[in-house]
Structure formats: C-alpha cells, structure tokens
C-alpha cells in the first residue's frame, strides 16, 4: 500500500472513530434536553436531535481531514522529496460526490423535517380550530395579560389545562415583544397592530414553581423591563383547571360587583 492510500485508509478509520465519539456526545446532549411540555415541542426536539445526529458525521469528517493533514505533513514532505510532486487541481469524483451529498442533505433537511414540522406546527393554525381553548396573550411594556374570551376571565399567570390544544392570539399594545415558553419550545412575536397566532398542545402538568423553563418569557428586546418580562405558567390537570376557572370567575364577579 502506497503512502497516499495509507493516508486515505487512516482517515477513513479516524472518521469512523470521530463520528462515533461525536454521536456519543450528541446522545449525551439529547439526554439532557430540558423538560418538554407540548406536542409541538416534542416534534421540535426530535428535529433538533435528528439534525445533531446527521451533522455530527459532517463535523467529524472536516475535523478528520484537518487532523490527518496536519499530522501527515512530515510524511508529505518526505514524499515530495523523493520526486517532484504533482498536485491535483480538482478531483472530479471527490468534488462531485461532495456537491451531490451536501445538496442531498440540505434538500432532505428542507423536505424532511423542515416541511413536516411547518405543516404540523404552523399550517392551518392561523385561526382557532373547533375545540381549541382560545387564550389572548397581550404584551405591554412590561408585562403580560392573559384573557380567556370563551370563559370570560383574565389572568396575570398563564393557567392551562393539560392535554388540550391551546390557541394563542398574541398581540402587543406598544413595541414588539415575543411570547415564549421554553418548555413548549415555541415562540411568537407580539407586534403592535397585528394578531399573531400560535397553537400549543399541552402534554403534561407542569408549573413554573417546579421548573423554570415552564415560564412565559418575553424574547424580543422591548426596552428596560425586557429581561424580567415574565409571567408564571401553570399547566393543571383538566379538573383542577376547571376548578381554577370557576374560582376566578366568582372572584371577578365579586370584584366587579363590589364596585
């Protein structure tokens, strides 16, 4: 075996090793993803994991070539000393393979997870579907107001039933804000003069008190109060949610009746 093919074999072996290491690292990351509390979020985490797993070999490939080239420099010098080198200006097979593989990967990213997720998360969700619980999330400098038009109540904390499809209507009174719940993995900007829509299907009971990623956080720079423009989130079992609704309703009638 000549030194050149030896280098290629070595690189191939190293690529396998690096890829394996990278995949181990990737799996460790995936295992430590923060808690997810919506079905949209589960889909997004899957896509995140998929992209991590698929880009790891690409990363490993480039690193392999860097390492093998640097470590093989002395050998390359010896080769060149034994006869004048002729270096290829292009290697048709390598270049076209590279081009086709990178194109295929990216086309797959778009039409695989990309389009599938858009269809699941965005498409058709620009108005509430029947059975959705509608929640109006209104942002202002600096805080959130939540209204439940069908239930006739408002709240400063976002309280939701678990296992329901929630349709958020996101608006702003002043500048641009963004409605984000890290545990849901989705955000939607609140833009003055516009109604934005976002659908979230809650999958589990969770509360800000137990997990800080379950919070409403403004994600778009909106001025001084931006960092702490947050609201608590409670995802309750359906019966407890119903109880909360009743309680809030009666409280609101007593306060407005008392006026």
């Amino acid at each position: 075996m000549g030194p050149r093919s030896l280098r290629a074999v070595l690189a191939a072996a190293l690529w396998v090793v690096f890829t394996a290491l990278a995949e181990v690292g990737v799996e460790a990351l995936i295992a430590h993803f923060p808690v997810v509390a919506s079905s949209q979020g589960e889909l997004i985490d899957e896509t995140f994991a998929l992209l991590l797993r698929l880009t790891a070999p690409v990363f490993a490939f480039v690193v392999t070539v860097l390492v093998v080239s640097v470590l093989g420099a002395a050998q390359a010098r010896r080769e060149a000393a034994s006869g004048p080198a002729r270096y290829p200006r292009d290697n048709r097979y390598f270049s076209w393979t590279w081009f086709v593989v990178s194109l295929a990967l990216n086309v797959y990213f778009v039409f695989g997870p990309g389009v599938t997720d858009v269809e699941a998360i965005v498409l058709g969700h620009d108005r509430p579907a029947s059975g959705d619980l509608v929640v109006e999330a209104q942002a202002h400098q600096w805080g959130w107001d939540f209204a439940y038009p069908e239930l006739g109540i408002t709240s400063k904390t976002l309280v939701l039933p678990a296992g329901r499809e929630i349709h958020f209507v996101v608006t702003s009174k002043d500048v641009i804000h963004s409605f984000w719940v890290p545990a849901f993995r989705v955000k939607m900007d609140a833009i003055p003069g516009r109604e934005n829509h976002l659908t979230v299907t809650t999958t589990r009971v969770i509360s800000t008190n137990d997990d800080m990623t379950a919070r409403v956080q403004c994600a778009e720079l909106c001025g001084l109060g931006h960092p702490n423009m947050r609201a608590g989130l409670e995802v309750l079992p359906p019966d407890q949610f119903q109880a909360w609704v009743e309680k809030t309703k009666s409280e609101e009638t007593t306060t407005s009746g008392g006026r």
Partner: protein, 618 residues
C-alpha cells in the same frame, strides 16, 4: 500669530476637528434657533452632525482635494510623508488600507472591552455592574453596532481590500484614489457617532434597531442612525472603487480566470455592499423621519414589520459581507502554507458567486417568528438551507488543498485552520436555525448569540488575524515573533471555544438574549462563560503589545518570507508608492507543484490552465 501655531492650526486633523466642532455648533444652534427645543433633541443633533460631517471631510483635505479644483483652483493637496501620512487625506491605497485596519482594530479592542463589562454583569443573576437594565442595554447595543459596522464590515474589506487587492492585480493604486481617501475619513466619524450615543442618553434597541422601539427610544438612537449612515457611505464608495479597480486596473495577462481568490471574494463583497447597504440607509432615514417628522412608517399604527424586511434585505447580505472576505483570506493562505496547489479554483469562484446571489434570497429567516405568512416560511427555509451548498464548496476547496500537503504551522496558517474549525460550528448551527420549527425555539436565545459569534468572531476575526500575521511583513517590512504569534493563537482559540461553545447550551436551557438579568437556574453556565470570556479578552492584549513593538523594532523581513506566489510578494517590503517598478509577470498563483518547502524566490512558470493563453503570449 506665531508661525508654529499657524502651522499647527493648519495640520489637517486639527483643522478637521475644529471645523467639525464649529459646524456642529452652527448646525445645531441654527436648528434650535429656528425650531426651538434643546440642543440634545433629535433634530438639532441630526442637523448639527450633518454639518459637522461635511466640515470634517472638507477640513481633513476634501477642501483641497475636491472643492478648490472644482472651481478651477490649483490641485495642491499635501499628503504628508512618513507617519504623518496616516493622519491625513492620503490617496495611497496602502496608507488608506492601514488607516482602515488600525481603526478597525482599535474599535475591536474597545468593543471587546465593552463585552468584558457585559460578561461581568452576566456572571451572576441580578444587577452588579450597571445597576440596572438601562445601561446594560446601551452597552450591548454599542458593542454590537461597533462590532458589525465598524469592525467586521471594515477590517478586512477596508484594510486588506485596499492594501492588498491593487497589488495582487498588479495595479499601482485604486481606480479612484481620492474617493478611496475620502471614504476612509467617514469611518472615524461613524465610530464617534456611535460613541456619542451614551452621551445622548444611549439607545437600547440593539444593532438591529427594531422599530417601533427605535422610534420611541432616547435621542441616543439618532446617534446609531447617523453612525450607520456614515459608515454606509464608506462601504458603498469603497465597493464602487473596488469593482472599478478590479475591472479596469488588472495587469495585462491577468484575466478573470486567474484572479487570486481573495480578489474574487472582495469582488462579490463589493457587489453586496453596493447593492444592499442602501436598504439599511433607507430604513434608517425612515426611522429618523418617524422620530423627527412624526411620520408613521414603523410606529405602532404604521408597519413595524416592514422595518424588519428592509433591515434584513440588507442584513443578510451584510453577514456575507462580513464572512466572504474571510473565506478569501483563508483560501489564499492554505496553498501557501500547505505548499500545495489550490484545489478546485472553479468550484470556489462558482461557490462565491452562488453565495453572493443566494444571499439576496434568504432574509426572512430572521423573521420566522414574526407571524409572516406560510407562503414565506417554506421558500425562505429552502433558500437558507441550500445556501450551505455553495458555502460548503469553500470547505471542499480548503480540505482538498490541505489534504496531503506539506503543512507549515506558522501563525497565519494556525489562524486559517482555526477559522475552518470555528466557522464549521457556526455554519452547521446555521443549518439548525434555518429550520423554521427549530427556530421557533432558538430565535432570540443564546443559541443564536453563540451561532453568530462563531461565524463573525470565530470566522471573520480569526481570518482577520490570519491576514494580519500573513501580510504583516509586507506592510511593515518587519517580522513578528513566531513564538508569540503561536501563543496568541492557542490562547485565543482555546479561550474562544471555551467561551462560546457553552453559550449554545445556555440557549437550549432557555436563556434569552439581550438581558441584563436572568433566572438563577442559569447561573452555572453563565459563570463559566464569563470566566472564559475574561481569558479570551486578555488574549487580545498579547498581540496588541507584540505587533506594535515589532512594527517599530522587529527584525527586517525578507521580500517573500512565505515563498508565496501572489504578486504582492514580488515587490519590496514595504512596497514603494507605485508598487511595481516594472510590469509584473503573471504566473499561476497557486502552482506549488514540485516547489521546495521554502524556496526563494519561486521561479515563474507557464500556466497549466487549459485554454488560458500563456502570459506575454497575448
């Protein structure tokens, strides 16, 4: 008045400062006189600054260079000699290049220092440094704006674009030397405009200045608007000049198919500058009108989203304006230090042109979460994912070049290889952010912050460093210390990755960006990042001292210390004013077949490219 004093007052820089100050007072004063209000209102600041900018340009030499000759007077511009050239209106492209480079580096240190303050604030939850969010927001905005508009867009393009490109194509100067000279002098004023922001109460809308926040922000916002417009003028004139230069001034025999790849990268960058900087200019003018004239282009009863479209129609090409020159430098260096022929020249040129064209079609990936219609989501996701194909061709060429090469790990080569590693992470995470659904989570988190620092700092700044060490002997005529250079590289490379890699994870954990305060559960990762960031910040001090010292005292450099083939290495270091004493011989710049490891000088040889006539034969 004594003649010494008179001479001093005639020193152009001082004259420019005095004229600008007087101009500012006159402009602002007249506005206050006519329209009332205070000197610190938007309108007086804008008018005062406009007059000051004009006076500054005239004072530094625009008067002698343009106005007097226009009216038939004699062209009597004193361009100075020796060091004083750098403080004057000077038409030598090499002087202008160094002016740009030094200004960008000084701004890099300054804005980097601001980043240290930010990391100090973010080390723990609560407010430690700035006592509240207001100052922090201003400092983030200043850091970002300076880094983008006065460092990243200026360093390589203004610095090496001016210094190296004319020599690389065998020209004696740029096509429009006076335009070049005047273009530089907009930069210090642009930087000053940004820096005056805090004095005017600061602005807190970030470098993106999203409306309507920027409509209602303090007067400091006007400073940012003026800074962007001023630096934009420099970018556009520089772009026009570069295109004219490469088109008209190439040495005989140097056709487009033999152009060095760095020159190609500067050409595509110039096209993007000329075509897209006007969009941000428009956006800024409209914001200013909203503020001073009560128009409602982007106010809450106007069209705030249109601002974002305008901004990102510019903003996305802008990020390629920042990185394409970096690709150029790295690809230029790899064959030299791998002692190996550049791989895939045609793939590179094709890739650069494709990136240039496609970069115009991807801007809405910054707006996935704004509620834009579905008809925009998938098309922009498609173009954004696909732009990694031509970008990947840079890696194809880079890997093809170093594979089996006789690599010499000099400081510039280390930085070039570091670039390949860092930008790989920046580029691959771009694939993640291009995905609409994933962006619903990542948008406006530290995942994005890590991503763009990997491309700009890990990419552009590393390429800038590679270029500085590579061309240092040419520009200064002196050699830096290789050991110190290597220490610089390893220190910066390790500290850089230690700082920014964990930032991705902070984003995943739910840390949103542009915040002075955060929830306590995010403290561990932030503490780590801050400590690493201080180590990174300290790494800048070493080259700052080292390079300044060797520029003055270093050992003399050979004409071609790297045994490189491009034309700048065929002339003395530093080059004479006219660059070439005789017409340069055009060779295949990337042919290292059979070349010794280090061989001085390399013999010219005929071009092996098929269909390309041999030099002198046409």
């Amino acid at each position: 008045m004594g003649s010494a004093l008179r001479g001093f007052l005639h020193a152009p820089l001082l004259r420019a400062v005095v004229w600008a100050a007087v101009g500012y007072l006159l402009g602002a004063g007249a506005t206050v006189g006519l329209a009332g209000g205070s000197f610190l209102d938007d309108l007086p600041v804008i008018v005062g600054y406009a007059v000051a900018l004009l006076a500054w340009i005239l004072g530094i030499g625009g008067w002698e260079a343009f106005v007097v000759p226009w009216f038939g007077g004699p062209y009597r511009l004193d361009e100075g000699t020796g060091r004083s050239r750098y403080f004057r209106f000077n038409t030598d492209h090499k002087v202008v290049g160094i002016q740009y480079l030094v200004t960008a580096l000084a701004t890099l240190l300054l804005a980097g220092g601001l980043a240290m303050l930010m990391r100090l604030e973010l080390m723990h939850p609560g407010f430690q440094v700035f006592g509240g969010p207001e100052m922090y927001n201003q400092v983030v905005s200043l850091h970002g704006s300076l880094m983008i508009f006065a460092v990243a867009a200026v360093g390589i393009v203004g610095g090496f674009g001016n210094y190296v490109v004319p020599i690389m194509i065998g020209a004696e100067d740029m096509a429009f030397p006076r335009l070049n000279a005047v273009g530089y002098w907009f930069v210090p004023m642009g930087v000053l405009a940004f820096l005056s922001g805090p004095l005017l109460g600061g602005w807190e809308s970030g470098w993106t200045a999203y409306a309507p926040l920027s409509d209602t922000d303090g007067t400091g916002q006007v400073a940012a608007v003026l800074g962007i417009l001023t630096l934009g003028i420099s970018s556009v004139t520089g772009g026009i000049n570069l295109l004219a230069t490469v088109h008209h001034m190439r040495a005989p025999g140097l056709d487009w198919r033999r152009l060095p790849v760095f020159v190609w990268s500067m050409v595509v960058t110039a096209v993007l500058n000329v075509a897209f900087v006007p969009f941000v200019g428009t956006a800024m003018v409209l914001v200013a009108l909203d503020r001073v004239a009560g128009t409602n282009f982007f106010t809450k009863d106007g069209l705030p989203l249109v601002y974002q479209d305008l901004f990102w129609i510019f903003g996305h090409p802008e990020v390629y304006i920042l990185i394409l020159p970096g690709f150029g430098i790295v690809l230029e260096l790899l064959p030299v230090f791998a002692r190996k022929t550049l791989y895939g020249y045609r793939w590179i040129v094709g890739g650069l042109l494709a990136v240039m064209l496609m970069s115009m079609t991807v801007w809405d990936h910054h707006m996935y979460t704004t509620g834009i219609s579905n008809a925009r989501l998938v098309p922009f996701m498609t173009t954004t994912e696909l732009i990694s194909v031509p970008t990947g061709l840079v890696y194809l060429a880079a890997l093809g070049t170093i594979w089996g090469g006789r690599i010499r790990l000099t400081t510039p080569m280390l930085f070039a290889l570091g670039f390949l590693f860092n930008f790989l992470i920046g580029g691959l995470t771009g694939v993640f952010l291009a995905d609409v659904a994933l962006d619903f989570q990542m948008q406006d988190t530290f995942f994005v912050v890590a991503h763009f620092h990997y491309t700009i700092m890990g990419g552009m700044v590393f390429a800038l460093m590679a270029g500085i060490y590579y061309w240092f002997p040419k520009m200064s005529g002196r050699m830096y210390n290789e050991a110190l250079g290597k220490v610089h590289f390893w220190w910066m490379f390790l500290a850089y990755n230690a700082t920014f890699l964990p930032m991705f994870w902070a984003g995943v954990l739910g840390m949103n960006r542009r915040v002075a305060d955060y929830l306590p559960y995010l403290e561990p990762v932030n503490e780590w990042v801050s400590v690493a960031a201080f180590t990174l910040g300290a790494s800048f001090l070493l080259p700052a001292v080292h390079l300044v010292y060797v520029w003055a005292r270093g050992p003399e450099a050979a004409m071609n210390p790297w045994a490189s083939r491009t034309l700048e290495w065929t002339i003395p270091s530093p080059p004479p004013k006219e660059n070439f004493r005789e017409a340069p011989a055009i060779v295949d710049f990337y042919d290292y077949d059979g070349a010794e490891d280090v061989e001085l000088p390399l013999p010219p040889r005929p071009l092996p490219m098929p269909g390309v006539p041999v030099p002198g034969g046409d």
